[in-house]
């Protein structure tokens, strides 16, 4: 993302102009824009004109519109952001208060105006504009009959293909069907890899599975590459890494990302950091249960006591419709920072973020045990 202009006054009001440069930036934009903000961008609008004789013609025009956002829709597959809202700046084509849906496009600037820029949003801009690129990783998580082909960017894990095939089991004297089914399955996964993974961008491809599926698949992959003389695969053989995971389900990616070899290779990816932080939380919960808490109510009480050492929070909480609630979460983060705590904002598109979301979306490790919090157990929302 490129920051073109930033005019934010001391009381937090103002606008920024940004140019998204890659699909990931759309995710940042999605997290920045909330209901009630106004967004100005160039767009295409179908305009109907009525001539003096009464006949109407419609034409598509490119125009610049400013809308007050009412709903935001993020398409994870296409990495597109659609903003729906009312026009607030009349021009020759579009009337005031007419509805329009803006589709934010890559490499076209948009300006975003907020009544109040909070620290989270400003941080997000900083993060999005950080030019140091982190490694893009592709991962194939599989077990016999099931495979997920994923792309892991610094703040997103996108499932590009899910392959679910039934493989007949081995039966006395009927091994052939099993082996044939397996071949077919490997072939499907191979096709998915070729279709969805851009080897120019991806720095590393993880093949994760329990047992020997990964070895078998890897072998098959390069057998086929030699057979079909697939240059791309052969050239990128060094990028493949075989990692253990307990199953082919998406959440098993977490185990693969914890593998020390993988951490070395993709250390700057946010995903790996998040996995580690969450793991840390669970360890504390196991060893010292009165030092690890989750749920808004408990966290707020811990903050009152300035006890929070590190706070894990899902970015989904900031995307809520309720402005007041969002403010409360921002307040939480600010006060944790004030008291010297560390804040980790999890991307809800990563697997660890998904898990944190299930765990009320907010969790904290405390500096000192607070057993009194454990007493009032009636906190489940």
């Amino acid at each position: 993302m490129k920051l073109v202009a930033k005019n934010v006054t001391k009381d937090g009001e103002g606008d920024v102009t940004l140019v998204p440069e890659e699909p990931e930036d759309m995710w940042h934009a999605y997290n920045l824009i909330s209901d009630g903000d106004s967004v100005r961008s160039t767009t295409i609008r179908k305009v109907q004109t009525e001539s003096s004789t009464g006949s109407s013609t419609s034409s598509r025009v490119r125009t610049t519109l400013t809308i007050s956002v009412e709903s935001i829709d993020f398409d994870t597959q296409a990495c597109m952001l659609r903003l729906k809202g009312k026009n607030i700046e009349e021009n020759q084509f579009v009337k005031m208060n007419a509805y329009h849906t803006l589709e934010l496009e890559m490499n076209r600037k948009f300006s975003l105006r907020k009544a109040e820029w909070d620290t989270i949003s400003l941080e997000r801009i900083e993060m999005a504009c950080d030019p140091t690129k982190s490694a893009d990783v592709a991962a194939v998580i599989m077990h016999e009959g099931l495979a997920h082909v994923c792309l892991i960017t610094s703040s997103m894990t996108l499932v590009r293909a899910k392959i679910d095939v039934n493989i007949p089991r081995k039966r006395k004297g009927f091994v052939a069907q099993h082996e044939k089914g397996l071949q077919k399955f490997y072939d499907t996964v191979l096709q998915a890899i070729l279709r969805h993974i851009n080897f120019d961008i991806v720095k590393c491809i993880l093949i994760c599975s329990p047992g020997f599926v990964r070895d078998q698949f890897f072998e098959y992959l390069f057998q086929m590459a030699v057979k079909t003389d697939n240059k791309i695969l052969l050239e990128n053989k060094g990028k493949f890494m075989l990692v253990h995971s307990s199953s082919g389900f998406k959440h098993s990616l977490r185990e693969a990302l914890q593998d020390p070899a993988v951490i070395n290779k993709i250390s700057d990816t946010k995903a790996a950091g998040e996995v580690k932080a969450l793991e840390n939380f669970y360890t504390v919960l196991q060893c010292e249960p009165s030092k690890a808490f989750y749920g808004k109510k408990h966290i707020e009480k811990a903050i009152e006591a300035q006890a929070v050492e590190s706070l894990l929070i899902s970015d989904k909480l900031f995307r809520c419709q309720d402005v007041k609630l969002r403010k409360e979460y921002v307040q939480i983060i600010d006060s944790v920072r004030e008291s010297g705590g560390e804040v980790k904002i999890f991307s809800s598109l990563h697997i660890s973020g998904e898990q944190l979301e299930q765990l009320t979306g907010i969790a904290a490790i405390l500096r000192f045990p607070m057993p009194e919090l454990e007493e009032d157990s009636d906190e489940e929302a």
Binding site: P168, R169, K250, T283
Partner: protein, 649 residues
């Protein structure tokens, strides 16, 4: 113009009239000797039996017979059995006023079953014995003495008092004619106990009763089916043990075995030759480990045993679970080698996890085979040491001590598998049953045939022609050819085209059977492993969220709300989320300790709500035990076992 000849309806018997008289039939003893003279003649057909009844089975007798060496082995086995029975009889009934010959006769008549022998002797002596073992354990079998027995009687005049025994009290007599081999189908036992038929208190339909009657009619005569899963740590020797049993039982022919031996030698893994009987895929053989459940069938004296050979490797536990869900009993194999047993048994080893898993899946009877005891020179101390450790663990795991048997054996050398031990070091301290006898003495569980039909799909494959087959265990009820079935959770209907058990086609299958069902009227794409086939009138419940009472295993990371788990339900494997911790319970009393706990520590019990990512078919535990059990796993470790208590829709 052969097609104009009515070949099919040709009456060959007419053409060959008189053929039988000339060829292949020796007529002498059948036609020319009057029955009264019979006893003076040497009859080849029952020479072996009669002579062995008299004294020892003599080797030259057998050599004369044109049977193969299998017979010879049997005789050796019988000899060993005979000796051990004899010892046991002598020790138990020390002031015994009977000749050796008489005892031998009794032993053979009672098929070497020591309890029966002793009972019989005591009965004939008209004393009141105290039964050493629970009588219900072995289903009582009765048989009408066959013609051969009569022959024997005539030939052996010294056995008169035994014949009297037959006449005096034929009803209580439990005798089976001595069969040629332990696995031959001769002498069909008739099950007299009715315990296996579950009593259904509320019969929802009239035809339930007819199903039960049909079951009795169809299956009353046959041997009882028993599904046994073989479990244990990786490299404990499960496949080898089972492969050797199958070989020793004659289920694998010599030629194949020889082939395996040669091929495994080529790979430098000769010790895996028996394992190859069950490990069939190339991958399994080259790596030398079982990956998916191997399936095989053999017969014991009273049972038809289907063997499920589970993989021991940690990564293949999902496969093991789907196999264990079908099993009635389990055989736990532990490696007696120093160090190996400890790795398998200590934290993280599969001995523990497997045992816990099968227990949670409802298996209550267990045999522990202490394998590879030859590597420690059949040391009794080692055996006792292992037993001691296993006993305390299995008690904790919830196995009743009376339901667990321990057998020392060696899978590779074949010691104490199908026959009594011959190794002198072992014989000095062990005189219990061999592995096969232990398997034979398992009690088959109740088969809920009168409940509505349910079958959980374990495998889907292409059958002959365009049809496709599914296989799985019939959990409850019965299924007939031509029935309509509903496949849940997709709610697709299909028609049963044909049914088969073990490649043999059947008209009807019952609860407990491992059936292969050919379906028509449905696309293969719409069926997946883990789906439930059920009665359209009485369908299984379908939900994506349910409440379960779980028992948390020995876990490292506590379970919190939002915990991502893999749910195993029969053969189904699906990701799920524990979305709510409802209450923590006292493990022994089941009382609620804490409402809404923040997390669940290891070895606790709790009520939780589980959210699935898609619809699944299951039942309340209270209504159907088989389909009401779930397993929760995370990162390759089983974290909890649960029972479905409520279905939330």
């Amino acid at each position: 113009m052969s097609r104009h000849r009515d070949v099919r309806n040709m009456d060959y018997s007419e053409d060959y009239d008189g053929y039988d008289d000339i060829y292949g039939h020796s007529v002498d003893d059948d036609y020319y000797i009057s029955p009264s003279n019979r006893q003076f003649l040497y009859n080849r057909e029952n020479a072996g039996q009669s002579r062995s009844g008299e004294v020892y089975p003599m080797e030259q007798d057998i050599q004369e017979e044109d049977e193969t060496e299998e017979e010879l082995k049997l005789m050796e086995m019988d000899k060993a059995k005979l000796e051990s029975c004899m010892d046991q009889v002598r020790t138990t009934l020390s002031p015994l006023h009977m000749s050796r010959q008489e005892i031998v006769k009794i032993i053979i008549d009672n098929k070497f079953e020591i309890d029966k022998i002793i009972n019989y002797i005591l009965n004939t002596q008209r004393t009141m014995p105290t039964d050493r073992r629970d009588k219900g354990v072995v289903p009582t079998t009765t048989i009408i003495p066959s013609g051969e027995n009569e022959n024997e009687k005539v030939i052996v005049p010294s056995n008169t008092n035994i014949i009297k025994g037959f006449e005096i009290d034929p009803a209580t007599l439990d005798s089976i004619s001595r069969s040629q081999s332990p696995n031959s189908g001769r002498g069909t036992p008739v099950v007299t106990s009715n315990s296996e038929i579950a009593e259904e208190p509320k019969l929802r339909k009239k035809d339930r009763k007819t199903t039960e009657a049909l079951y009795k009619k169809e299956r009353g005569e046959a041997r009882e089916h028993l599904y046994m899963i073989v479990i244990g740590h990786v490299d404990a020797g499960k496949s080898t043990l089972m492969g050797h049993i199958l070989y020793a039982m004659g289920q694998v022919n010599q030629k194949t075995m020889h082939k395996y031996e040669q091929e495994s030698k080529k790979l430098g893994k000769q010790s895996f030759m028996y394992a190859w009987v069950l490990d069939e895929t190339g991958e399994e053989r080259t790596r030398g480990i079982t990956m998916d459940v191997g399936r095989c069938q053999f017969e014991t004296k009273t049972k038809m045993v289907t063997l499920l050979d589970a993989p021991g490797h940690k990564d293949f536990i999902p496969n093991m679970i789907s196999g264990a869900a079908q099993a009635d009993v389990a055989l736990l194999v532990v490696d007696a080698t120093r160090g190996e047993f400890e790795t398998g048994f200590d934290f993280g080893g599969q001995t523990r996890e497997h045992a816990l898993l099968v227990r949670s899946l409802g298996v209550t009877q267990l045999a522990v085979a202490v394998n590879k005891l030859d590597t420690v020179a059949w040391s009794q101390d080692r055996f006792e040491e292992i037993i001691g450790k296993m006993k305390s663990f299995l008690r904790q795991a919830g196995f009743k001590e009376s339901d667990v048997t321990y057998v020392p054996c060696s899978g590779l050398t074949g010691e104490n598998l199908v026959k009594k031990p011959s190794e002198s070091e072992l014989m000095t301290w062990y005189n219990g049953p061999c592995l096969l006898e232990v398997i034979d003495s398992f009690r088959p569980p109740a088969r809920p045939v009168s409940k509505p039909f349910r079958l959980s799909i374990n495998d889907i494959f292409k059958g002959i022609g365009s049809a496709f087959c599914i296989s799985g265990k019939v959990e409850t009820g019965a299924l007939n050819v031509g029935d309509k079935v509903l496949i849940c959770p997709n709610k697709e209907t299909a028609t049963v085209k044909s049914l088969a058990i073990d490649e043999l086609s059947q008209a009807v299958v019952f609860a407990g059977d491992q059936a292969t069902v050919t379906l028509s009227g449905i696309d293969m794409q719409n069926v997946s492993v883990g789906n439930i086939l059920c009665d359209p009138q009485d369908p299984v419940q379908v939900t994506s969220k349910f409440e379960a009472r779980i028992v948390v295993f020995n876990i490292r990371v506590p379970i919190t709300k939002g915990c991502n788990v893999v749910l195993h339900h029969q053969s189904l494997e699906e990701p799920a989320v524990i979305c709510k911790l409802v209450a923590e319970l006292n493990k022994s009393t089941g009382e609620q300790i804490k409402k809404h706990p923040r997390f669940l520590q290891k070895n606790t019990s709790a009520i939780v709500e589980v959210q699935m990512s898609k619809l699944i078919a299951l039942e309340l535990y209270s209504e159907c035990k088989e389909l009401g059990r779930v397993m929760l796993r995370q990162s390759g470790v089983t974290i909890a076992a649960g029972l479905v208590t409520r279905i939330i829709s």
